[in-house]
Symmetry: C3
Amino acid sequence: MSDRLRPSSAGPVAEATGDLLRALRESPPLTQCITNAVVTGFTANVLLALGAAPAMTDIVGEAGMFAGIASGLLVNLGTPTPEQRAASVEAVGAARAAGTPWVLDPVAVGALPVRTALARDLVAMRPTAVRGNASEILALAGRGGGGRGVDAIDTTEAAADAAADLARQHGCVVAVSGPVDLVVDGEQSIRIANGDVLLTRVTGGGCALGAVMAAFLGTARGTGHTPATAVAAATLAYTIAAEDAAREASGPGSFAVGLLDALASLDPASVAERAHTTSAFAPEATA
Amino acid sequence: MSDRLRPSSAGPVAEATGDLLRALRESPPLTQCITNAVVTGFTANVLLALGAAPAMTDIVGEAGMFAGIASGLLVNLGTPTPEQRAASVEAVGAARAAGTPWVLDPVAVGALPVRTALARDLVAMRPTAVRGNASEILALAGRGGGGRGVDAIDTTEAAADAAADLARQHGCVVAVSGPVDLVVDGEQSIRIANGDVLLTRVTGGGCALGAVMAAFLGTARGTGHTPATAVAAATLAYTIAAEDAAREASGPGSFAVGLLDALASLDPASVAERAHTTSAFAPEATA
Amino acid sequence: MSDRLRPSSAGPVAEATGDLLRALRESPPLTQCITNAVVTGFTANVLLALGAAPAMTDIVGEAGMFAGIASGLLVNLGTPTPEQRAASVEAVGAARAAGTPWVLDPVAVGALPVRTALARDLVAMRPTAVRGNASEILALAGRGGGGRGVDAIDTTEAAADAAADLARQHGCVVAVSGPVDLVVDGEQSIRIANGDVLLTRVTGGGCALGAVMAAFLGTARGTGHTPATAVAAATLAYTIAAEDAAREASGPGSFAVGLLDALASLDPASVAERAHTTSAFAPEATA
């Protein structure tokens, strides 16, 4: 843990998670996903199970118009075809114009040139949040060479300073996934120790979380909750559901099925007592 | 219910469903699907579970040739990339030339411009059947602005007249999905009250039904059953299987898995007694 | 069974399977898949469950660079868009330059012109292994017209001579999937009678095996095991896991889920005693 941070009560994020989950189910946020071909189905099912309304609108000529009416947008760079690259730029421009919160997931950035160039362009367009594993966050901050494809080869804490720098530089929330998830926004630092290792044995385990973040950000608009709180709440709801699924699973196949069931039956009232979170504020702004 | 319709016996459709399901399994219809990237895997698995032979042949230079030999074709506009748009036009042209029955699923038509233009072109090419939710059918008939993406915001009955108009105008069957499914062909109107709300919590729950319709239409060729009967039979078989799956499910994840198991074990002999259908004939042709 | 083959002990392949599975889990092979849109998610989940590291890097400008660092590569022609066709050629060129073993899965070759031309080009680039059903292997060898799409209409044994010819002509391993799987390399012929018919009721049941072969080939590099042994070991591990899954399944849906669980829990020590394999050597080289 960075020595610029001091621990404080975890209560606010855990309480906010229950409130946001209730609000999400009452008024399902239309959540646009421009995401990779491997996880589109799973991602849509995660959103539906949670109670959100997915829309995988990712073609040129429609992605931008849709981003203007969506509640939240995910741009995931896992399999960035030319069509998706153009649609991503179109959607992000429209999301910015409309004030739609958007999440950038720079999958395998650093290791591969096409997505690395695109990720650099997109992060400069000031996403509401960036989500990645430690290797991806280090690479996006210019501090590492990236992992081998989608695998993190660095620990979350090794990426904490890079995440804080990225957050301050681009005015965004940065979420680093790992055994302990880290969410920073330049002011605040939240750590979430819920979840299960089976999330790393299912394709889309991380990518779908990016979509859940976009959904929670959409729900949080106008509620007074900060983007960092919404991103942490998304992480907490998702990883608590993962614990429920892991308890019943016989392996990664039944875990993925159970995760959908658990998201659908997740009780907002139980989230606070099950949270393993800490949050801290930086004592001073640093460049 | 439109006052132009009078109730009659539900027996014929329910009986036909068992017969067509038996015939489908004896001689699996080669069912070509040009469908959206979110649901390709689930759709193929639904067809395989049912006993049909899926083929997701959707590239230019192959889609047309394949439509000439397929038993049935689905064109679903959920994520219409330029390649898929061109392949769809190629396939539909070949299907018409060869007499291959084809189903158009105009996902999110009305709300989004690229697919709306394509859907208008394709419906003018006289599909054997059109399948959509109420908002999509209203939009395709020029009577509504479309839903928010894939969500229906109108009821099935609100779309009944638009469905009948579309059916008469293009000489096709129109199927409107909802809590009660409606199938019309300009002469006849069939309502099916089987199914489960969990179908709306699984991505592809509706899209896969379009593929099942294409499979049943392929099987029905040369049997004397009308396209409307085949489309209604597909709906009935699928929604009865959904009831079996819902009974055992703990949520949307286990429901989707159970739906595949239930389709594979669906007993043709039990369909008739489990059907909740009504059918009616228009007493006179109306413009 | 070809009369050029005489039976010998099945021990070596079965023993090698346990050793390679242990090695794969200790050092997960980075397995690049350029595969069809229907099965990307399932294929990645199969690799993750087994213990390998999937990467579905399939765009131009990245596919080649990645093939140079991957442990193994799969090129599957199920839905060959123009982008994927170009990426496949790029990746194969880089794999050859780097010595990365690669597997060609010529889905539906023979029946469809675009992929047939591409498959002919790629097989001439000397894949480490070719995997297909009997109809596909016959078509690739110029001895048949191909099946109806992905369906085999020929038996494995009917393709045995064509497989041996292909293997000798291109210096590759050829694997023919069927009730009894056949693996030949011009010298040796291995038959594997494990598995379950439910593999044919799940989309990607065969395609994912091609990815498992690429993973095992990556693990086998530098171990002294031949490519034919690695391909046979992949088949044996996969089909034994399928038997575990079939025992618990209620149909194709629960079978696919259970297959992932079974791959994750497959015990290397139990593989040898569960194997139903025979292997034979050709008594003389034949043209």
